[in-house]
Amino acid sequence: MTSLDPILKVSNLSVEFPTDDGIVKAVRGVSFEVRPRDVLGIVGESGCGKSVTAMAVMGLLPRTARVTGSIRFRDDELVGLKPKEMRAYRGQKIAMVFQDPMTALNPVYKVGWQLAEAVRAHEDLTRKQARARSIELLHTVGIPQAESRVDSYPHEFSGGMRQRAMIAMAIANNPDVLIADEPTTALDVTVQAQILEMLINLKDHLNAAIILITHDLGVVAGITDRMQVMYAGKVVETGTADDIFYSPRMPYSIGLLGSLPSHAGSQERLKPISGAPPSLINLPAGCPFSPRCPLADDVCESVEPPQVVVSDGHVSACHHVEALNAMADPLKLFEEVAT
C-alpha cells in the first residue's frame, strides 16, 4: 500500500514478569512493523499478551517487567530508555487509546482540561490556546457542541463520547503511531462501528499508522491491512487480512474464525475452541496450543513449531501447515474432529 520505511519496528520482543509464583512469560518473541497509514490488527484470546505488547511499546509496563528484544521508532531504540526519555515519545509520537473509556478518563477533571493537559504536555501553548485546540479536537472526533462539552466532566459523557474523547486525547499531538487497545469492546455495536470508522478516517487525516488490538476478529475484518494472531505470548500466524480470513494455516486462527457469526454461516452453531490457554508460568514444551488442537500429535506436544512461510507475507507457526494446505475446507476442522 505504501512504500515508506517502517515507522515502528518491533523485533523479537519478549516480556517477562517475575511474580511470587514464577516468571510469567507474557510476550515471547513478537515481531512486527508498521508504516504510515498502515492498519495492523493484533488478535487473540484474552490473556495472550496483546496489551502487554502495546504497553511495552508505550513504555508503560511496570518496573518489574523484563523487556528484551527491540522496539524501534524510526531510528530510535525504545527498549531500555529511561522513563524520562520515553516521555518524549508517549502521546507525541506514539499514542494509545485504552480499552475501557469508563475508567480511562480521570473523573475529577473536566474533559477539556484533560485534553488540554495532553496538548500542553508536548506543545508550549497557553491555556487559552490549549482550550481552543481541545474544542477543535472534540470536533474532530465528532462530539457535538464541543464548545460547551469541553467543560463537561467525564461522567457527563456517554461511553461512546468518552471513547471519542479518549481518541481526541490520543491524537492531540498528531502521533505517528496510534495504538488502539480494544477501543470498542466496552461499547455497543452501533457505536463500535462509528468509532472504528472514525479511527480509519483519522489515519489518513493524520498520516499515522494504527495498531488495532482486539480479541474479536469481526472488528478487524475489512479494516486492517495486516493481521497477527497471538496465542500464549507468541505470534502464531501473520498475514494479510485475506490470508487469515480465507486461508488460515494455524488451527488456532481457524478456531477464532469459527467463533465468528458471519463466518460460521447462519445455520451452523458457533464452535468456540474448547479448553483454556495454558499458564504463562509453566509453558508446555511443545506447541502451546496443542492441548486444544484437533491436529495435535506427539511432535506438537514436544517441539515448539517454527514459523513456516505459507506464502509471501503469510507465516504460520504450525507443524501441520501441509496438512491444512491439503484440506478441502480447513474452516471445518473443528467440526470434523468433533463428530
Partner: protein
C-alpha cells in the same frame, strides 16, 4: 449545596434526639450519683432527701429526661453534681482538646499523608518497607507506653541532662504551669511567656499524638494511593507523556485525596470527643477527661453535655466530610 446542608441538619435533629434518649437511659443507669452520701454513717437523712430533690433523683426517669431536654434545647445544660455549671466546664474542655488536637492533627496528617504517598509511589522499596513496618509498630503501640517512654526519655532524663532538673524545660503535665501566670505574677501572662510555657507543655502530648496518629494516616493514604496509582486514568496520564511528578500529584494523589480528606474530617469529628488516653496521660483536662470524670462520678448532666457536643461534632464533621467529598468529586451532586 445550601439546601443539602439544611436538609442534613434537619435529618440530624431526630437522630440527635434519639441518641440523647439512649444516652440518658444509659447515664441514669450507670449508678447512683450520691451513693457515697448514702453510705456515710452520719449524713442526716434530711440532707440526702435534699440532694435527691436537687438532683431530681426522686423523679421518674421520663420526667427527668423531659426536664433535661427542655433546658438543653435552650442551651442550658444544668449543673454538675458538684453544683458547677456544666456548659462552662465542657466549653473549657473543648478549648483544651482543640488546642491539643488541632495542631497535632495537622502535623499528623501532613507527615502521614506524605509518608503514605511516598511509600505508595515507591512500593516495595526500602522506604516503603521501613515506613510500613514503622507505621504498623507505632499504630499498634499502646499510647500509655509511648507516653510514659517519652516522659522518661524526653522529660525526666533530658531535663536533667541539660541541667534543668529543677526548672524543667520539657513538661509532662497540663497545658500550662499551674503557678506561672497568676494574679501575683502578671508579667508572666504576656503573649511571649504564655506561648513559651504552652510549648514546653504541649511538646510531649502533641508528639505522642502525632506518633500514634500519623501512622494511621500513612497506612491509609498509602492504600488509597496504591489504588489510584493502578487506576486506568493514571495509566492514561502517563500515556499522554506527562511527567511522573504530574502524574502522581495531579492524577493519583488528587483522586486519593477524596477518600483521605473524608477520613481525616471524620476522624476530626471523633477527636472532638477528646483524645482520651493522651489527655489522661498528660493531664490535659479536655473532653476526654470530661467523659472519664462524668462516668466515674456518675454525673448525668456532665456526661449528657459531653455526649451532646460530641454528637454534634460527629454529625457536623460527617456533613463536612460529605461536602469535602462533593467538592473534590464532581460526580457527587449535593442537591
Amino acid at each position: 449545596m445550601i439546601s443539602f446542608i439544611i436538609r442534613r441538619v434537619l435529618v440530624s435533629i431526630p437522630l440527635l434526639f434519639l441518641a440523647s434518649i439512649v444516652a440518658f437511659i444509659l447515664v441514669v443507669n450507670t449508678g447512683d450519683p450520691i451513693e457515697d452520701l448514702r453510705t456515710k454513717p452520719n449524713v442526716p437523712k434530711a440532707t440526702i432527701a435534699l440532694r435527691e430533690h436537687e438532683l431530681g433523683l426522686d423523679k421518674p426517669v421520663v420526667e427527668r429526661y423531659v426536664s433535661w431536654l427542655g433546658k438543653a434545647v435552650h442551651g442550658d445544660f444544668g449543673k454538675t453534681i458538684k453544683n458547677q455549671p456544666v456548659w462552662a466546664q465542657v466549653r473549657r474542655s473543648l478549648g483544651v482538646t482543640l488546642r491539643l488536637v488541632l495542631f497535632a492533627e495537622i502535623v499528623s496528617v501532613l507527615i502521614g499523608v506524605m509518608i503514605g504517598v511516598v511509600s505508595a509511589v515507591k512500593q516495595y522499596s526500602w522506604f516503603d518497607y521501613g515506613a510500613t513496618t514503622g507505621a504498623f509498630l507505632l499504630y499498634s503501640l499502646p499510647v500509655l507506653a509511648v507516653g510514659s517512654f517519652l516522659k522518661f526519655i524526653l522529660a525526666i532524663r533530658l531535663n536533667r541532662w541539660i541541667g534543668r532538673g529543677d526548672d524543667p524545660l520539657i513538661k509532662t503535665i497540663g497545658e500550662g504551669t499551674a503557678n506561672f501566670c497568676t494574679a501575683s505574677k502578671p508579667y508572666n501572662c504576656g503573649f511571649i511567656p504564655s506561648v513559651t510555657d504552652f510549648l514546653s507543655h504541649a511538646f510531649l502530648p502533641m508528639l505522642t499524638l502525632v506518633l500514634i496518629t500519623f501512622a494511621g494516616y500513612a497506612r491509609f493514604s498509602r492504600a488509597a494511593m496504591l489504588e489510584t496509582l493502578n487506576a486506568d486514568y493514571v495509566r492514561t496520564a502517563r500515556a499522554k507523556g506527562l511527567s511522573e511528578r504530574r502524574v502522581i500529584m495531579k492524577h493519583a494523589f488528587r483522586t486519593a485525596l477524596m477518600t483521605v480528606a473524608t477520613v481525616i474530617s471524620l476522624d476530626f469529628g471523633a477527636l472532638i470527643g477528646g483524645a482520651i488516653l493522651t489527655e489522661t496521660i498528660f493531664e490535659w483536662h479536655g473532653m476526654g477527661r470530661v467523659l472519664v470524670e462524668s462516668i466515674n462520678k456518675i454525673d448525668p448532666n456532665l456526661l449528657l453535655c459531653w455526649f451532646f457536643v460530641t454528637a454534634v461534632a460527629v454529625i457536623a464533621f460527617n456533613l463536612i466530610a460529605d461536602i469535602i467529598y462533593a467538592v473534590l468529586d464532581p460526580r457527587i451532586r449535593l442537591d
